[in-house]
């Protein structure tokens, strides 16, 4: 009595995904902690990877009533080799009452292991942004670069002869001919049948009728022949529309001050800011280049490892970084091909004669090439660099500056920078 065999293999897997979400939600606190730790140990490019998370088993246990050690109990075991009634056996290690031997010992051994599982990249990112109170990534804040590409878009009845679709047009013509001629053809068939049925020898009246028939048939034939083989209304042209496509190429310049005054906490703030920016841009563009520039009195292009780890002491000449950036743009990133972004992080401490030069450099050579330039000061004091940049902000629309002194401020500042001041295309 087989009702049926059902192939369920294609029907939803991941039925447990809702349960998994609830599990993650429940342990959000611990996960957040684990994610924060993981981020600190990661390179800026690895930030998007998943992560193995360890939770202490005792934290996720579900309580229930049960028997503890103590009291009296009798347990039956299989495989008796040596014992007879009345034998005494030493209690196994692990306290009184664990009478079931190896099974119990194994259990209590495992009891304190961590519960380990893997967070996927998406889950990791969600928790990461959660940490910064980010509900959803804003996807459309920077307007896409206006580059158009033409796409096929079905057929239209108007167009240039070069776009004529012969097959489509002929198909239309055939159906039109069939449709228009249908009535006449049916009549023709009928009349021809009647003509064929006429006897060979005819009287006068029949002769007349036959003439009549032949006339009608000739008229129908003529009418059918007048149906045009192809008509202007049959013509179909391949239609093409021009659609805007996002520019695929973008470069982000990360400029960070690594002078003696930047301590680890300040660097961490900068790092977090750059991570956000990086993720934001990678979600927007297919390909993204990142140029890391660090500077004290001299600027240098470095890899990410050095960008965040290396520490040098010395004075600060911010303009050195801007000069280097300008050179790199000229050399490798033509503004006509690239969306150029820059983010600069500094504690605002600069050699006092240099700040004015920074402003000039930005105004004259860098800002005209950039889509957006964001300056983040990771210290509270307003020194001359802040003052010079403040003047800049008043006149340059795509220049923005903010202060960040705590990790929790980064996301609000970030959103503020990229939402409120979003660059015009």
């Amino acid at each position: 009595m087989l009702q049926q065999i059902i192939d369920r293999r294609l029907a939803g897997k991941n039925k447990s995904i809702g349960n998994r979400e609830r599990f993650l939600r429940r342990y959000q606190g611990q996960l957040r902690e684990a994610v924060r730790k993981a981020v600190d140990q990661r390179g800026i490019r690895d930030i998007e990877k998943g992560e193995d998370i360890h939770l202490p088993k005792r934290d996720i246990r579900e309580p229930s009533f049960g028997h503890g050690p103590g009291g009296a109990r009798e347990i039956v075991h299989p495989g008796n080799q040596e014992y007879v009634r009345g034998d005494h056996i030493e209690r196994p290690q692990g306290g009184s009452g664990s009478g079931s031997g190896s099974g119990q010992a194994g259990d209590s051994g495992e009891g304190e292991d961590d519960f380990v599982f893997h967070l996927t990249k998406e889950e990791f990112m969600q928790i990461f942004f959660d940490d910064l109170a980010l509900p959803r990534m804003m996807r459309t804040q920077i307007a896409e670069a206006p580059e158009l590409k033409s796409h096929r878009a079905g057929y239209s009845n108007q167009g240039t002869p070069s776009n004529l679709s012969v097959i489509r047009s002929m198909r239309g013509a055939i159906s039109r001919r069939v449709a228009i001629g249908a009535g006449s053809r049916a009549e023709l068939v009928e009349l021809e049948a009647r003509l064929a049925e006429m006897p060979a020898i005819l009287d006068a009246a029949q002769e007349l009728a036959k003439k009549e028939l032949e006339l009608q048939i000739a008229a129908l034939r003529a009418r059918l022949d007048r149906i045009p083989y192809i008509d202007p209304i049959d013509l179909r042209f391949r239609n093409r529309v021009r659609m805007p496509v996002p520019t695929a190429k973008a470069v982000m310049f990360c400029l960070m001050d690594v002078s003696g005054s930047m301590d680890e906490a300040r660097k961490d703030l900068s790092k977090r800011f750059f991570i956000l920016l990086y993720l934001f841009l990678t979600r927007h563009y297919e390909k993204i280049d990142i140029v890391f520039i660090r500077h004290h009195t001299q600027a240098q292009e470095v890899d990410e490892e050095n960008f965040f780890r290396a520490r040098e002491t010395g004075g600060t000449v911010v303009s050195s970084a801007l000069v280097l950036m300008d050179e790199i743009i000229k050399e490798r990133y033509s503004p006509s091909d690239w969306n150029i972004y820059a983010a600069q992080a500094s504690d605002g401490d600069n050699w006092h004669h240099d700040s004015g030069r920074c402003r000039e450099l930005l105004t004259e050579s860098i800002l005209p090439k950039c889509r957006y330039f964001a300056y983040v000061q990771v210290a509270d004091e307003e020194q001359n660099l802040w003052e010079e940049y403040s003047r800049l902000q008043e006149v340059q629309k795509h220049f923005a500056m903010r202060k960040v002194t705590q990790a929790s401020q980064i996301y609000p500042v970030f959103r503020d920078l990229f939402k409120a001041e979003g660059v015009a295309a």
Partner: protein, 539 residues
Amino acid sequence: MTSHHAHAPSDPKIAARRRLRPERTLPAAPLAAGPRAEKPLPDPSDWTFELIESYHEKIRAAAHRYALDTYPNQLEVITAEQMMDAYASVGMPVNYRHWSYGKEFIANERSYRRGQMGLAYEIVINSDPCISYLMEENTTAMQALVIAHAAYGHNSFFKGNYLFRLWTDASSIIDYLVYARNYISECEEKHGMQAVEDILDSCHALQNYGVDRYHRPSKISLAEEMQRRSERLAYAQTQVNDIWRTLPRRVERPGEADEAKRFPSEPQENILYFIEKNAPLLEPWQREVVRIVRKIAQYFYPQRQTQVMNEGWATFWHHLLLNTLYDEGHLTDGVMIEWLKSHTNVIFQPPVGHRAYSGLNPYALGFAMYTDIRRICENPTDEDRDWFPNLAGTPWLPALHHAMRNFKDESFIGQYLSPKVIRDLRLFAIMDDEHQEHLRVSAIHDTQGYREVREALSKQYDLASREPDIQVWSVNLRGDRSLTLRHTRHNNRPLHDGANEVLKHVARLWGFGVNLESVDQWGDVSSHWSIAAPEDATH
């Protein structure tokens, strides 16, 4: 026979009469098989749907001859991932969402991916039609084994065993689970995930205490559930308030205070039921959630009491059915060897002290016992005639069916564990008494010990001794409204430390303080836990 379900009358009265009929008349011996097959069924290791169908047909015919009465079968082919999904939601095809199922899934998935755990070959659901999952990875031989084991073994057990007949309603469980899932997700939308999760956590902590052990529950019927729900919710709320209505007057007349009026008048074993009906502060939707957890716990209650019987029965039948097919020429040697290897693994019983030992294997014990019942019927020894005078020499098929239908693990072992099985498995009992310095071997497989081993093992499977006996003892109606639970110690065994955590959950449901007293065999309260009322009670 299997076919009579298909012709089941639609008139519910007739259906009910049929259900109450005590036992079907069974043939004394299996019906005769047809002529020997000319050639065996093909046995490529990759299965096809046609192949499954032809194996199923042979197995069905054999099961029919052995009078196995089953629900209609629905075989579903699933992937390993889907199997893990099913694992995670307690083996059911649908269930409400809860983080603990997510935890389960994550743990299973991880150990599966690292190769630490093989998946079960099958999951079978006590539903009508009976759903058996076949894993895609199984070979043809394994699919045949699974069909015999699940679709005929377990299925006939679900339909025949008295506990399942009394306590579960196979025809409505899937509908009820769908209802539960929808209701819980509606609640999540209305009241927030956190609120629902809190209630579910608390109910889960008590789900083993959401069961009527002694009086028969009414069956779950979806139609009725839906119809009555709203009135019930409204009515229940007024009832609850009723309990507390006497409060002010009592306060006015303190002279009466000592004359304690007990509430509840008798201790209540079903703690969740008591909470659903009487917890003062629960909102109607929360009561319904309590009810859902309770109903589902009730559905699983028979399974927890028939592990040995159920697995033993299924194992006995896959073994017998596939051997029968082989004898009739339907199976190739290759198929035989493959399923026998798996069968041997399943019934392997490592001896105590072996590193794979983790207690008695219910498959091994159950298979040994059913096989032995057949042996006692067919080839009794003097010892068997002495121990089982009503069994020895009688037709084996009705005897076996009787044993399957009318017992649970505890009574099945108490009734049928024979000296031969005790000897074969070399069973022995160890007494662990905290007052003694050493463990003592209290009985082994000898004349003196058979009955004691049997009794000890029977008790071991008694749910009441496995789980602490905790009941609702009283409610302080006049004072702080606190609820008192009472644990009656079995063999003076105390509760473990988790009790305090569970009490917090009870307090969340109850809304006021909760006490737990542990009472020893002399009736004295030997330990006591107390949890204050939760601060932001429910609202």
